[in-house]
C-alpha cells in the first residue's frame, strides 16, 4: 500500500531522494560547525606544540580507543540494518539498530567515566584545573577544546541515539518505503558523527604519543 505523498512531491521516490539530499546538505553544515572548532585547535596547537603534546598524553587513550572501536562497530551495525531493511527481516533490522543504540550508550557512559577521571586529575578548565606550570597555558587551551568538542559530539550522539530508537521502533512494527528513506538519512547522520569522532580521536589522543 503506497503511502500518500505530500503535494509538492510527484512520487514516493521523489520524496525519499529529496529527504536524503536534505540530510547531505545538513551534514555539510555540520562539517563547518566542527571545522570552525578544529581550526581553532590547530591555531593553538601551532602556537603551543609542546603543551598540546603534553596535555594529550594526559588523555585516557584506552577509553578513547575503546570508544573508537565501539563507534566503528555501531556504524557497521547501522550499515547492516540499512541492508536488512525489508518487511520480512524487520526484526533483524530493528535488532541491529538496537545493537547500535546499546553501543552508542556504552560510548556515552565511557565518556562520562572519562570526564570523571579528568575531574579527579584536575584537568577541567574553569572548574578545577591544575597542570605543570611550564605548559599550563597551552594545556588549558587544549582541554577547553577537548571538553567543548567532545561535549558537542556527545550531544550529537544523543540525538543520533534518539533517532535510531525511533527508527528501531518504527521498523519493528511495520516498515514502509517512507521509513526506508528515513533510515537512510539517519544512517548517514550516524556515520557522519562517527567520522567526526575519528578526527577528534586523532587530534585529542594521538599528539605526543607517537614513538
Amino acid at each position: 500500500m503506497p503511502d500518500a505523498v505530500a503535494p509538492q512531491f510527484i512520487s514516493t521516490a521523489h520524496r525519499d531522494e529529496t529527504a536524503e539530499l536534505g540530510m547531505w546538505v545538513f551534514l555539510a553544515t555540520e562539517v563547518l560547525l566542527f571545522g570552525g572548532l578544529i581550526l581553532g585547535y590547530f591555531v593553538y596547537r601551532h602556537s603551543y606544540p609542546a603543551a598540546f603534546a603534553a596535555a594529550s598524553r594526559h588523555t585516557e587513550i584506552v577509553i578513547g580507543a575503546a570508544n573508537t572501536a565501539i563507534l566503528l562497530t555501531s556504524s557497521f551495525l547501522v550499515a547492516c540494518a540499512v541492508d536488512a531493511f525489508a518487511v520480512e527481516t524487520r526484526k533483524i533490522c530493528a535488532g541491529l539498530l538496537s545493537g547500535a543504540i546499546l553501543l552508542g550508550l556504552a560510548f556515552i557512559i565511557l565518556k562520562g567515566v572519562e570526564y570523571a577521571d579528568e575531574y579527579r586529575e584536575h584537568l577541567v578548565p574553569g572548574i578545577d584545573f591544575n597542570f605543570e606550570a611550564s605548559e599550563a597555558n597551552g594545556a588549558q587551551l587544549f582541554f577547553v577544546f577537548y571538553f567543548v568538542a567532545t561535549a558537542i559530539h556527545a550531544l550529537h550522539m544523543l540525538i543520533g541515539i534518539g533517532l535510531l530508537a525511533v527508527m528501531a521502533t518504527l521498523t519493528w512494527r511495520s516498515p514502509t518505503t517512507r521509513h526506508r528513506a528515513a533510515l537512510h538519512s539517519i544512517a548517514l547522520y550516524w556515520h557522519f558523527v562517527d567520522v567526526v569522532w575519528i578526527f577528534l580521536f586523532a587530534l585529542i589522543y594521538l599528539p605526543g604519543r607517537s614513538a
Binding site: 603551543y48 606550570a133 611550564s134 605548559e135 597555558n137
Partner: protein
C-alpha cells in the same frame, strides 16, 4: 593645489599623508567618473526608452559576450591598479625607518598613558618633535584599543597580550587629534587626546621641563631589584640564570635549537610566559610574573634591560 577643491579636507601631515590623500582623490575621481557614467546612462535610457516614447528598439543585442567580457576585463584591470596603488602605500606606511626616539604607550580603559624614554610621562597627550621618526611601542592593559591620528592618516589596533610597534612621523608642527578607534567600553568616546608636534628645540625644552625623577630605565632598575629579578639574574646569585647584560638586540639560542632575537616582545614574554622559550643550557626555573606586574612596570623593565648593554635588534 588640488586640495583647494576640497575645502574641508585638512591635508595629512605625515610623509605618506600626501600619498594617501592622492590615493583618496584618485578613488574619488574614478568613482565620480563611474557614477557619472552610470547615472548618465540610466537617465539616458530612462528618458529615451520610456514606454510612451517611440524610439528605435530594433536590433536588440543578442550576443552579449563582447560587452560582458569588455566591462568585466576593464573592471578587473581597474581594480588591480587600485589594489597595487593602495598596497604600495600601505607597505610604505608600515615600513620601519631607522628610528631614534622610542616612546611607550599603554592603552587602558579609558586613557592613553605615554612614557618617554627619559621618564617623562603624560596622559592623553603625546609630545613629539617634528620630522623625526618616532617609534611607538604600544601595549594594552585590558581590551583592544586602537591608536588613531587622523592627521597622520594612521591607525593601528593595540591588542592585549602583545607589543605593537608603530612608526609615526609628523612633518608639520601643530596639535592633532588622537582618538581611540576600537570600541572598548563605556568611555570609548572619551578616550581622546592630542598629538603635539613641536620644533626640535621646543621639544628638547619641553622634555627638560617635565622634571622626571627618574628615567624609565632607572625605574626599571629599581623594579628589577624589588621584584626579585636580581636574585637570580644578578651577579652573586647561586641560581644558574642567563645574564642579562648585553642581551638586548642579540640572538638568543633556545633549548630547542632555534634562535630568537631579544627584542621588546621577547623580554616581555620572558617575564610573563617564561616557559614558552627556554634559553639553551638553562633549566626552566623562572617563575611567571603574570598578574604580578602591570604593563607600566613591564615597559620600565624592558627599558632597564635595554640600558644595560646590547644593540638595536
Amino acid at each position: 593645489m588640488w586640495r583647494e577643491w576640497l575645502p574641508f579636507w585638512h591635508p595629512g601631515v605625515s610623509p605618506h599623508g600626501d600619498d594617501t590623500d592622492l590615493l583618496f582623490a584618485g578613488l574619488l575621481f574614478i568613482s565620480a567618473l563611474v557614477l557619472g557614467l552610470l547615472f548618465f546612462l540610466l537617465a539616458l535610457f530612462c528618458v529615451r526608452y520610456r514606454a510612451s516614447n517611440l524610439a528605435d528598439r530594433g536590433d536588440r543585442i543578442r550576443k552579449s559576450w563582447h560587452w560582458e567580457v569588455s566591462w568585466t576585463a576593464a573592471s578587473f584591470v581597474g581594480f588591480l591598479g587600485l589594489f597595487v596603488w593602495g598596497a604600495v602605500i600601505y607597505f610604505e606606511i608600515f615600513r620601519t625607518p631607522p628610528d631614534e626616539l622610542t616612546v611607550f604607550v599603554v592603552a587602558k580603559q579609558w586613557m592613553w598613558k605615554v612614557q618617554h624614554a627619559g621618564g617623562q610621562s603624560e596622559i592623553n597627550v603625546l609630545h613629539i618633535p617634528v620630522s623625526r621618526p618616532i617609534r611607538l611601542v604600544m601595549a594594552s592593559q585590558d581590551v583592544i584599543h586602537s591608536f588613531f591620528i587622523p592627521a597622520l592618516r594612521l591607525k593601528h589596533d593595540v591588542v592585549p597580550g602583545r607589543y605593537q610597534d608603530l612608526e609615526i612621523t609628523a612633518d608639520k608642527p601643530g596639535r592633532y587629534h588622537l582618538f581611540c578607534a576600537e570600541y572598548c567600553g563605556t568611555e570609548h568616546s572619551g578616550m581622546t587626546g592630542e598629538i603635539v608636534v613641536m620644533e626640535a628645540a621646543d621639544f628638547a625644552a619641553w622634555l627638560a621641563q617635565q622634571m622626571p625623577s627618574n628615567s624609565l630605565a632607572q625605574e626599571g632598575g629599581a623594579l628589577f631589584r624589588e621584584l626579585g629579578c636580581s636574585g637570580c639574574h644578578g651577579g652573586g646569585s647561586k641560581v644558574h640564570a642567563p645574564p642579562l647584560e648585553g642581551l638586548y638586540g642579540n640572538l638568543v639560542p633556545l633549548a630547542d635549537g632555534s634562535f630568537v632575537t631579544a627584542d621588546d616582545k621577547y623580554i616581555r614574554d620572558s617575564i610573563l610566559l617564561p616557559r614558552s622559550q627556554i634559553a639553551a643550557g638553562y633549566e626552566p626555573l623562572m617563575p611567571s610574573f603574570e598578574g604580578k606586574v602591570s604593563e607600566d612596570q613591564l615597559l620600565r623593565l624592558v627599558a632597564y634591560i635595554k640600558s644595560i648593554g646590547g644593540q638595536q635588534p
